[in-house]
Structures are given as C-alpha cells and as structure tokens.
Assembly symmetry: C2
Homo-oligomer: 405 residues x 2
C-alpha cells in the first residue's frame, strides 16, 4: 500500500489547486460560489474524481457528488466544501475534500471494492460569502431554507442567485429539498482543519467534534440621508454610519459580558461609499454565537436594542434581517465513539464554527474530524496545517472506510 | 438670438449624457476617472466642442481644454468637471461644463468673434473618487501635488494611477506642474450647482462664492488580526473594526462641539470583509472641514488622538495618511463684484465644498457662480436644479463673456 501523493510539502490534491482563486488584494484565497475560481475548482474536482474512477454528478442545489461504485442507499459519504471566505486560508474546506478523495484512493490502491455505496461530496457556498447564507448547499438539500428565498438572494453586485446559477448552467427552478438524495446518506463524515488552538498544545494531530455552538447571521440595514460631507451641518445630518458604529461597539460590549458568547461585525458596507459623502445607507453584518438558542437570542436582542436606539438618535431607520440561524448541534455519539476508538481516544472538541456537517447532523448520523491548526488562525491567509497532520487525517478517514465498506 | 437647446426638461447637453454612468446599485451616477463612463463622457465632450468649432486637447494631467479661437495668453476660461462621487447627482460638475459650452454657443449664435482667447475646461478626478485625492487634475496643473505620488496612487482594485493613465492612452511620465498652460489663464470662472440650501428660500436662482472652508481628507488604517468570528474568544481579539467604530463616533463628537466644523466618515473598508471573519484591517476615510487651517488641524488632531487610544485598547495599530488638504480659499473680490454687478447683486455664499476653482484661486483670478439647489441635496441621486435656474446660469456666463471677449 502507498500513501497519498505529496507535492511541494502538501497533499498533492491541495497542491493542484494552490493557484486557483488567490486574492492579490487580501492575500489568501477568495473562492465564491460559481465565480471563476469556484468554477475552476469544480472542474478540477470532477476531473480528479473521474481519474479515480468516480462518477461525478451535480445535484439540484449545486452540490457535487463523486460516487465510488453505484449510487445507492445507506451510503458512506465523506466531504466538505471548496469555497472560501474572502481572503481565506488554503485548508478550510479543500482539506476535507482532498483527504476524502485520498482516503478513497488508499482503499482503491489496496484493491478494495466497496460493499456499500460511497461518495465524496462538495457542498456549495458553505461560507456564505457570495449570497450571505452559510451552508447554503446543505441547507437546501435538507429543506432547511425556502428555495424561493434563495433564488432571490443577491450578491454584492446585485445579481440574484437565480441569475448566477443559470449563468453557471444550473437550473434554479429545481432548487430545494432533495429527500431522495438525503435518504441515500447512511452517514456523513466531514474532515476539517481545526479553527482554534484546541489541538495546538495537545500533542496529537486529530480530534473529533462534540458539538457546534448555536450561531447565526443578522444583517443590519441602517438608512439615513446621503448628502455632501462639506456642506451639510452636523446638526442637520441623518448619518447611518454613526448608528452602525455604535452597533459595532454594542456587539462587542454585549458579547464580552456574556460568558462564552461571540459577536462580530467583520463586514460593513456604506452606500454610496464616497469620502466626501455622508452615507445614505450602511449595512453591518452581525455574526453571533453562544452555547444555546436562548443565549444567542438574548445576545442578539440586546445588540439590536442598542442599535435601534443609536439609529433613532440619528433619525435613521434600522431593519434587521436574520440571514441564517443554526441551533446547537450535537454530533452522533455512536459514530463519534467509533471514530475515536479507531484513533486512540483522541480529544472531543466543541466548535464555534458552523459546518455542513452541522446541517446534516439533524437528519443523518454525522461526525467531524479536526486536523490540528498550530496557530489557531482561521478564515485568514495565515491558516496552516502541517503535512504530517493532514496525512494522519487521511489515514483516519481510510481507517473508517475500511471498517465500513 | 436663440437660447441654449433644451431636451426633456433639461439643458440638451445634460440630456445627451443622462444615461452615461448610471449606477444601478446606488442610484444616480458613478463616473470615475478613465472608467468606461468617464471615457464616454470625454468622447462626448470632445465631439460636442468640435461641433461648436472648438479644438479640444488633453493636457499632460488628463484635463481637457476646448479652445474657442487660438489658444493664447490672458484667456477667459470657464468649466468644471464631469466625474462624480459614487452614486452622485446629474448636475455636480456636468452643469458647469454644459453651461460653459452653451454660453459659448450663445455668443457664437450672436455672431461674436472672441477678441481674446477663450476655453472651456474639464478637470480630471475632481471628486477624488477613484484615486482618493480631490481636484487631482487642477492640483497637478498648478504643481500642488507631487507627480511621483500621483503615479503611485491606487484605486480600489489596486491599480496605480500610472497604469490606469497609460491604459487610457495618457502618458503618466509627463504628469505634473504645467506653468505654460497655467500662465495662459487670465481668469477662471466655474459654475456649479449649489450644495446646500443657501439659495432655496432666497428668491433668486444664482449666487457667487465668497470663500471655501479649509478642508482635507485623512485615511485611517487600523490593522489588527484576522481570524474566525466563531472560534476566537472575545478576549483574544485584536479587532480593527472596533477601533474604527470608535473613531467614527469620535469624529462626530469632535465636530459637533466645534462651531461650524464638519467631520465625516462616509467610506469604510474592511479587509477581508467576510461576515464570519474578524477583520484584519479596516480603513476609514475622514473628511474634515472648518473655517481655517488652525481649526481643521485642531479638529483632526482631536479625532486622531481618540482613534489612537481606541486602536491601542484593541491592540491594533493606526496609520494616518493625509490624502489631500486645502486651506481656506477666498475668491478674487474684483471678479466676484464684476459678476455680481451684472447679475443684480446676487448673494455671496461661502462653500463647504472643495472645487477646482479653489485650487486655481491661488494662482489666477477666479470666481464661482452657484445655481440654486431647492433641496440642498448634494453628492446623492436626489440632487436637482430647475431648468429655469440652469438657464439663468448660462445667461450669466454669457453676459460675462460678452463683457470680456
């Protein structure tokens, strides 16, 4: 038996895509649903899977499925996503896809023929960086989001999901819950780079997931009056930037005083966005997370209350839209312990990050495997995993497959 | 004698460009130096001036000059700009260009032949919306900005001025002070839509400018650490968005407590700008204005002090860059009173807005004529001037030309 191919100090699969979607302004990678980079990655995945003898199909929601053997019920499904946040790292998503393909390749090299269906999946728009809703492809698959709403979602250029999908050759009319496909999944396992320092000092390369914090995204649209920055007296202004700034501070204050909660405004958009122009509208996106539903709701309610006061004092309006929400997810205990047993009782880590595995966990037995991140940096160009740890991840997936197929 | 052509309720010249550079996201117009819209406007200006028998040349700094008769010394120069802020109105800039061409046309229709040189000028990048420096073309002309610095200025996509100029067929090697050309200007008169409500209740369509507030632009770059919004504990963050938000509030506080001062953050850019990503860098642009240099400096110093404290408390760094600065401008009294005498002693208004006329005022006799803005809205799609008031502006320019040529 040979191990997975390695090139330039990384898994060969990661090396094959290392130049796709580099972001020359932000650093790292910007790979967003059906943009040039994402299309190229989809072509790469299709070609690479085909080279391993896997048949690739795109489902009605833009997710790609590479089947080893005949598609069928009770399938063992591995995978993750290929899209990124703006200026993200090289491992978040692709490591889960490449390691899944490599695990299959290991078993193929061993001469195994699967006795039950097996697939590697690439979920669409996991990061929600183009259309605002995280885990969009998996949410659509399980019926957790209204397809009419999805068709109307717009990107930063104002293009709708329906337009973009059609331009990419996907028929948006067929979007939505896919119970037949979901019913084929016997279990789902997602390998992912760790997104904190939970394994950095622990000695081992791997962990399994215990749960995912409850989390969601809210869009705060502050509307005021655009006008000239030089000619408009301070007292006459209705400046939404002021209200948004106070909301940013409110989010920090609320989360810092609420135990393990997190609240972040990392994206803010001013319209029209000229230096010498008072903004007419400012949109701030709030990412909020905490241990359970009630905690998240209380956190967001407190922030929205203060944002509403700030808007009123500036004679602006505030509209709050929940873009996505995911309750606390606890992964399947049996599958998790089966994984751990094969790995020498690796630690169980809770995750502050959302994943397609979290969406699927409410429908099929699901588990996650984390690969050590020495610095804990995530969603940033400095994200890194050592090759040896990635190889340990591939071997862990292969080990599970050996026991299941 | 016939008046200027009118179409669809506006000056025909404005109607000819009414569809160029519409901004379908922000509303209004986005016309930025050498983008598609600006190039089309330049072609329109060249064709329209040629149709009136004016010879158009582009100077070394991207400004366009349409000469009526032979270029020469002691020229009477009228004009303004064609570029806009993002999502700006239809009058700010183009009204000054169109009314100047129309005033020339009026005199031509009267059979006049100029006895001294006369030109209509279009200054480049007046709003500074692409490369950050307002009145860029006029500043270059008078030698008020280092051409090496200008060549290195970058737009939002990271393209340098030099690259963009070269792509537009302008040789960036020749950028900079143009004393021969400046020396030809006998006087400069810029007609502009009023940018406040100074004429709204006053009964008359026109005013002349007394002075321009001291004003400038400062770029505040806050740098922290990009990381995952879900997995990074609040206490571990170095979030530049927090520091920037506190700077926005500081700007408001400082200006509101400083008499006639104005301070605005209307443009803010977060990198990488993902909903689920703590920003690694946030840039906020501060526009600050007040009665004189000392007042503006005190205002900006106070804001920067508070921004520096905010950055330090977040373990971020702050770099402050002055992008442009213009001291208080007082326009030529003789020229102003000559204009007023011909107009029935119209009011004298001070302006909070910068103009190319303000840049030229330090070098040649310069005046400005304001056309009533009924709502005072400026730098926004709702900006408006009535046709009758625009026609009064054209007639005022023509009257001055009749006395001077």
């Amino acid at each position: 038996m040979t191990g997975p191919a390695v090139a330039h100090g990384r898994l060969a699969g990661l090396d094959e895509i290392v130049d796709i979607g580099r972001d020359r302004v932000r650093g790292g990678y910007s790979r967003h649903l059906w943009d040039d980079a994402d299309r190229t990655l989809r072509e790469w995945f299709t070609a690479r899977a085909a080279a391993q003898g896997l048949a690739v199909e795109q489902d009605r929601n833009g997710n790609l499925w590479a089947w080893w053997g005949e598609p069928g019920p009770d399938a063992v499904v591995l995978g993750s996503h290929l899209d990124s946040v703006p200026g993200g790292g090289e491992f978040d998503g692709p490591l889960g896809v490449v390691s899944a393909l490599d695990a299959v390749a290991l078993l193929q090299a061993e001469g195994r023929v699967p006795t039950r269906p097996c697939a590697v999946v690439v979920f669409a728009e996991e990061e929600g960086s183009r259309f605002g809703v995280a885990c969009l492809g998996s949410r659509l698959l399980v019926g957790a989001i209204d397809p009419d709403r999805v068709r109307r979602l717009t990107d930063a250029e104002g293009r709708t999901f329906a337009e973009v999908a059609a331009a990419a050759g996907a028929d948006p009319a067929h979007l939505g819950a896919d119970p037949a496909r979901l019913g084929r999944i016997g279990l789902f396992l997602e390998l992912h780079i760790e997104q904190g320092i939970g394994l950095a000092d622990d000695g081992g390369p791997l962990a399994v997931a215990g749960s995912i914090l409850a989390h969601g995204r809210w869009r705060l649209d502050f509307r005021g009056e655009g006008n000239h920055a030089g000619t408009t007296r301070m007292a006459d202004r209705r400046d939404p930037m002021l209200a948004a700034a106070r909301a940013v501070v409110a989010a920090r204050d609320a989360a810092a005083s609420a135990g393990d909660a997190r609240a972040t405004v990392g994206r803010l958009h001013a319209v029209p966005g000229g230096t010498n122009v008072i903004a007419s509208q400012v949109t701030a996106w709030l990412d909020a997370r905490s241990g359970d539903d009630a905690e998240v709701r209380a956190l967001v309610d407190g922030i929205v209350d203060r944002a509403t006061e700030a808007a009123a004092s500036e004679r602006c309006t505030l509209t709050v839209t929940e873009e996505s929400y995911s309750g606390r997810v606890r992964f399947d205990r049996d599958l998790r312990e089966r994984l751990r047993a094969g790995l020498g009782c690796v630690p169980v880590l809770d995750s502050g990050a959302g994943h397609d595995a979290g969406v699927l966990a409410g429908h099929v037995p699901t588990a996650m495997l984390f690969v050590r991140n020495p610095t804990g940096v995530s969603h940033a160009p400095g994200e890194h995993a050592e090759l040896a740890d990635c190889l340990a991840g591939v071997e862990a997936l292969a080990g599970l497959l050996r026991g299941l197929l």
